[in-house]
Amino acid sequence: MHGSDASFWYQYLVGSLIFGYGMYLGFRNHDWSFHKNERGEFILLVLIMLGYMAVQGFFQFLGPRL
């Protein structure tokens, strides 16, 4: 694995643990409900994380080949 590829996986694995803990708090503080008002925010947060992952992953793995 390229040295900086490891950086990608490190950030997204360790970062996801911190992110996941925050999400857990969110669910707990909303009484584990997926009320319509808040559902969008939870989904948006996950999409933001996946969006960052996709863009950074794109440059990380495909950038040098383009």
């Binding site: 900086s4 990608f8 992110f19 933001i48 863009v55 992953g57 440059f59 040098p64």
Partner: protein, 607 residues
């Protein structure tokens, strides 16, 4: 520097000075001065947060990193997502609904007065030193572009910033930051456009970059001053946590927002949109520098000169002045927040509790203005000190590195763990700082946490990035251990101060059951009445808003682009009569919100 550049710069200075000072009329109470009357829309807060992130050193620093390492220069800006849920679901509802006015105040309510005093001293030293650093680094950057006195540049900027912050407080800060944020992002993109145009197209730029400059990350453990693991723990965790959880300026911005929902929208906008844009804006001069060297248009380019030389190379007269204005905007939008934050801490954590309690609000407003001027003067006075004694500059950097992990640990443990005690908080601050100071003399203690990253220097220059992980582990370890051993923890009322169901925090804030029914805003014409604090609506409008008497509502000018500048929070007193589309509003509220009774107003329920 040509005449047209000078004209642009002078025009920019005059515009910001006038624009900022204009909002002085909106600061008539300390609530206005520190929190902008708690009335602003999410987009104003989002933009002002983004412009606060970009300091005077950001263009110079990140262009240098981008020149050396390529796209991975953006990784420092693109890791905030890790902590956002924790902030959004944990910390933000606490500060919003508990209405703490400062970090030290939270510390006193959570732990007691000793912790408040310690934090107050540490934050003041840190923030005033940081004001000086911003003036100093801008002076250096401008001195490279337009050779003139470093101190002279600092004086000009300090006077302009101090004037508008002193007049308008938080409202001026937020409104000028909106302009400055747009300017610095636009300037960054414009520079890139010029570079691509000069190079002859995007393909030439792309092909001139070496393959290892096109990755999003630097290697995990090397080089020591840019290893990705170090960036993650220092920038991504310690500094990001310090920014979102500990930065008095940021907290004041989010207390200036009109509702919790707007605060959430603001942070989503920052993370989703503005951080990637600013990352690009501050870095791209470095990428262009690499390409310009590769195609032979610039020779002998050193990393620390990249931003200056690329700007000089690409910009014609006029545009050059515009880019310099953006650099200055980056400084002002950081320093104005710091000056306002110092003023808030001086008034709320020193003057009000210890020097003159229970004085009229106008007295505190006057003190707040004097404190703003004093913070600017002391920050400015530090510039010649930094110029003469490099060791002082390094000492501030070392001080920041030493106090950040313990303070971040105290805040995080404080709101996440009810068992975390006052003694443990003091032990964490003192013990964590000592542990980090010890690592300045014996850096080898960091090796077990370094993931194999080399020291890269001696004493406090060793393990500059990995020290953050060491500091966090030591601080949290001390905090947890002392809490578990502390059997005489005082029973303290922690309601609203630790992570709790959101509805409980709302209940505490409102003093009654929050109304969570979803309604719609209504547009009404106003009949002013002499009764204080009254908002009387028709039953039909109240029904449309899903609001009941006693609910918190927000009354604003109907023009959305004012961003809440003319608005006020109130309580709906009655919903028992009148015609739909009409409301009776107390003259005191109209005056407080600077609302024109002849214009239609928008009223929405908050909770």
């Amino acid at each position: 520097m040509t005449a047209i550049d000078t004209t642009i710069l002078v025009a920019y200075f005059l515009f910001i000075l006038g624009f900022g000072a204009f909002f002085g009329k909106y600061a008539t109470t300390t609530k206005d001065f520190f929190f902008g009357g708690q009335r602003f829309s999410w987009w104003l807060i989002a933009m002002s947060c983004a412009s606060m992130v970009v300091g005077s050193y950001s263009f110079v620093k990140y262009s240098a990193v981008a020149y050396e390492f390529g796209f991975s220069s953006t990784q420092s800006y693109l890791n905030d997502w890790t902590l956002i849920p924790l902030w959004l679901f944990g910390w933000f509802p606490i500060i919003y609904y508990s209405r703490v006015q400062s970090i030290p105040e939270y510390m006193e309510r959570r732990f007691g007065p000793v912790t408040r005093i310690v934090i107050t001293v540490l934050l003041l030293v840190y923030m005033i030193g940081y004001i000086g650093i911003n003036f100093f680094t801008l002076g250096i950057a401008l001195n490279g572009l337009i050779p003139w006195s470093i101190f002279g540049w600092a004086v000009i900027i300090a006077v302009i910033t101090a004037v508008y912050v002193t007049f308008g407080g938080q409202t001026s800060v937020i409104m000028t930051d909106l302009v400055q944020g747009f300017l610095l992002i636009f300037a960054g993109f414009f520079l890139f456009f010029l570079g691509i145009h000069y190079l002859g197209g995007f393909d030439v730029f792309w092909n001139a970059l070496p393959p290892d400059h096109k990755t999003a990350f630097s290697p995990l453990t090397e080089p020591p001053d840019f290893a990705a693991v170090g960036i993650f723990w220092q920038d991504g965790v310690a500094n990001t946590a310090a920014f979102y959880f500990l930065n008095q300026g940021l907290i004041m911005r989010f207390l200036a927002v009109r509702s919790e929902a707007d605060g959430r929208r603001a942070v989503f906008t920052v993370v989703l949109l503005l951080m990637p844009l600013t990352a690009f804006a501050v870095s791209n001069a470095g990428w262009l520098g690499t390409a310009l060297v590769k195609v032979g248009l610039i020779q002998d380019l050193q990393p620390r000169d990249v931003f200056i030389r690329v700007t000089q190379f690409l910009c014609n007269p006029g545009i050059f002045g515009f880019i310099i204005a953006a650099l200055i905007a980056a400084l002002m939008s950081t320093v104005d927040a710091l000056i306002n934050a110092v003023s808030a801490i001086v008034v709320n954590d020193v003057w009000r509790p210890y020097i003159r309690p229970k004085a009229p609000d106008r007295h505190y407003l006057k003190v707040a203005r004097y404190a703003s001027i004093l913070a600017s003067i002391v920050g400015l006075a530090l510039v010649p000190v930094y110029m003469q004694f490099d060791s002082i500059y390094s000492a501030h950097a070392a001080f920041t590195a030493a106090i950040t992990p313990p303070l971040v640990s105290v805040i995080l443990l404080g709101f996440l763990w009810k068992r975390f005690t006052a003694r443990a908080a003091v032990a964490t601050m003192v013990g964590g700082t000592i542990a980090i100071a010890f690592s300045f003399f014996v850096p080898d203690v960091i090796i077990p946490f370094a993931h194999g990253v080399a020291a890269g220097g001696l004493h406090h220059h060793a393990f500059k990035f990995m020290r953050a992980l060491y500091g966090l582990v030591m601080s949290v370890g001390i905090g947890v251990a002392v809490s578990l051993l502390d059997r005489k923890a005082l029973a303290r009322d922690l309601r609203g101060l630790t992570v709790s169901p959101r509805v409980d925090l709302m209940r505490l804030f409102k003093g009654s059951e929050p109304n969570l029914r979803k309604g719609k805003p209504v547009l009404v014409t106003i009949r002013p009445v002499d009764e204080e604090g009254v908002v009387r609506m028709s039953a039909e409008d109240a029904d449309r808003m899903a609001a009941d008497p006693g609910d918190h509502i927000y009354v604003s000018d109907s023009r959305w682009w004012l961003g809440g500048l003319k608005s006020v929070h109130a309580v709906m007193t009655d919903a028992d009569g009148g015609k739909p589309g009409m409301a009776e509003v107390g003259r005191d509220l109209l005056k407080q919100g600077l609302l024109d009774p002849k214009r239609p107003l928008r009223i929405s329920k908050i909770l």
